[in-house]
Amino acid sequence: MPRDSERPRHTGRLLRLGALLAGIAVALSFPSMAPSPYELTVGIAILNFAVLSTSWNFVGGFTGYISLGHGAFAGLGAYATGLLVTKGELPSFVALFVSAALVAVLAIPVGYAALRVRGASFVIVSIALVLIMLLVFQSWASFTGGSRGLVVPRPFPGKLRSEHHEIFYFLFLGLLALALLAWWIIDRSRFGMGLKAIREDEDKAQSLGTPTYTYKLVVFVVSAAFTALAGGLYGLWFGDLDPVFQFSILSGAYMVLMALLGGVRHLYGPLLGAVVVGYGLEYSKLEYGDTPLHLVFAGLLLGVVVMFMPDGVIPAVTGLVARVLGTGETSIREVTAAELRDERDEREADVRPDHRPDGKRPDGKREVRQ
């Protein structure tokens, strides 16, 4: 018989499984439900944001290092894929994976330098990376196309535009599933435990024997690789790359905003943030055109999150549900080891059929333990 405290946990697990299955069903049926190709492109944009933000969360969520420079890895992934297709004449999807590997290799020296500093210094170093890449890709016009941009050939030239969108919708969905799976595996691993200890207190983690520097570097490279895959896939889908948009501080800032909004410590936090922010951005662009109003919305949203839900929407909502259902932890009273042992003995006695859970015997007298 399950204990009383296990019932809400069991219910919670069932609810989570149900929500996951419902989410998968909605995601898979969205292309057939979308009223027009425009809605489908909004879906793709949101999925792209979700992959980027989840990829960012490998570093931000596990180690607490806030990188504003991940836009550089996305841009590099997109440009490397485009250049490998146009100049290297590689097949599109081979180019995509080769570019992710190249970005991962590049992330090693970048992380080696950037992860030596913490806090605000790390943020500034990460911003510098984006600005350097912007300058390089703008200036080196003979190779990258410069400000004129780079046209990436479509991987499926024979397909109609709507079919093209549908295929890419599912490709982004697959990549998102892969990123979430990787995050989930790390979250439950010994490696993940060490990373979370770094987030909590890096010095303490080190004093307990966690190889903090190596761990940070490894997860930084993994994060960069996933970000590059998202960027590369975007390049193949969108087909036109401009350094100003690819190497923008804004794209890194959006990844941070989405992850913070949903909750960086939660698997689905960045995904939820991407749905809200991505939809909001598309809506404001549609309604208000090319005005910078969408930036004002994003800024306001960031302010609201930081002020009222510093841990993100998911922890805020689950905390609220736990309070309503009364499943949260309430007691922190001090007990001696002897008292705890007595409590444990009582619980064991309770599960015996001749004992009532309230510690009273059937005749109403209180159980007296010797």
């Binding site: 435990m193 979370k196 200890a197 303490k204 004093s207 001090e334 001696t336 080891a337």
Partner: protein
């Protein structure tokens, strides 16, 4: 036996053969500032509890930092089981069997009790050994077993302290350095914490304890050392120090309850 010299010989009430941790004629300080420890000698016998008491600024916490490798001494030697480990870092000292529980609360607040405890055994590669050690500390600290899946930050101060103790015991240390474990705790919780220190000793772990709650600490310890101005001023069997009326006035905040049985000084 007791001594007021800078380098007393602290006898072991449990073992006559050698000391587990020895700090020998240590001189240490921070940066270019004046020395904090000025020729201090402290010896911890295997399985014994040694308590350092003394006024603020006497250098008590600095002793523990030198012993755990967080601070390299300017001169003197640190020996673990006879081996010279002077100048080695915290991770090497941990490997040598010296675990340090820092002052204040040092649990990972956003991680579960289980994760906190398992992080203590992070250097152990063998999963079976980790599981066996986890079972050992869960048995030693029932609260840790009880709150295994709770977030450590949700526990009270005294409970967090027990999680820290459990974490420090994961690597099967031979000596645990405890820096003011009762800081900020109410009398009942302090009692719980000292109960756990006694259990650590019963499990065979030596303890070097720094406490402001001197009377309570000396009641738990085998040997007491009174520090002042970076030296061991007086040392001897803890019960004798506790019973010394002059010492009680000077360092323990009042007269002792029992009639005095003055230690030799």
């Amino acid at each position: 036996m007791a001594s007021d010299s800078g380098s007393p010989t602290v006898p072991s009430p449990r073992s006559d053969s050698g000391f587990l941790l020895e700090l020998d004629d240590i001189r240490a300080g921070y940066g270019r500032a004046a020395l904090v420890l000025r020729g201090l000698t402290v010896r911890v016998p295997a399985g014994g509890v040694v308590c350092l008491v003394g006024p603020n600024g006497a250098g008590k916490s600095t002793v523990l930092k030198v012993a755990s490798g967080l601070l390299a001494p300017r001169s003197g030697r640190v020996l673990v089981d006879g081996e010279d480990v002077t100048g080695r870092g915290p991770q090497q000292l941990l490997a040598a069997g010296v675990a340090h529980v820092l002052q204040g609360h040092s649990v990972f607040r956003e991680m579960t009790v289980a994760e906190n405890v398992l992080l203590g055994g992070y250097t152990i590669k063998d999963k079976a050994v980790v599981a066996e050690r986890a079972d050992f500390v869960r048995d030693l600290f029932p609260l840790v077993a009880e709150r295994w899946t709770s977030l450590a930050g949700l526990l009270s101060g005294g409970q967090q302290k027990q999680v820290e103790f459990a974490r420090s015991l994961m690597v099967r240390p031979r000596v645990v350095l405890l820096d003011e474990p009762s800081m900020g705790l109410d009398p009942k919780t302090t009692g719980v914490v000292f109960e756990q220190i006694a259990r650590m000793r019963e499990a065979g772990t030596a303890v070097l304890l720094v406490e402001q709650n001197a009377r309570r600490a000396l009641e738990t310890a085998d040997i007491g050392c009174v520090l002042d101005l970076g030296r061991v001023h007086i040392s001897g069997p803890a019960r004798e120090l506790l019973a010394d009326p002059q010492l009680g006035e000077l360092y323990l905040g009042g007269r002792p309850a029992q009639p005095p049985a003055a230690p030799k000084r």
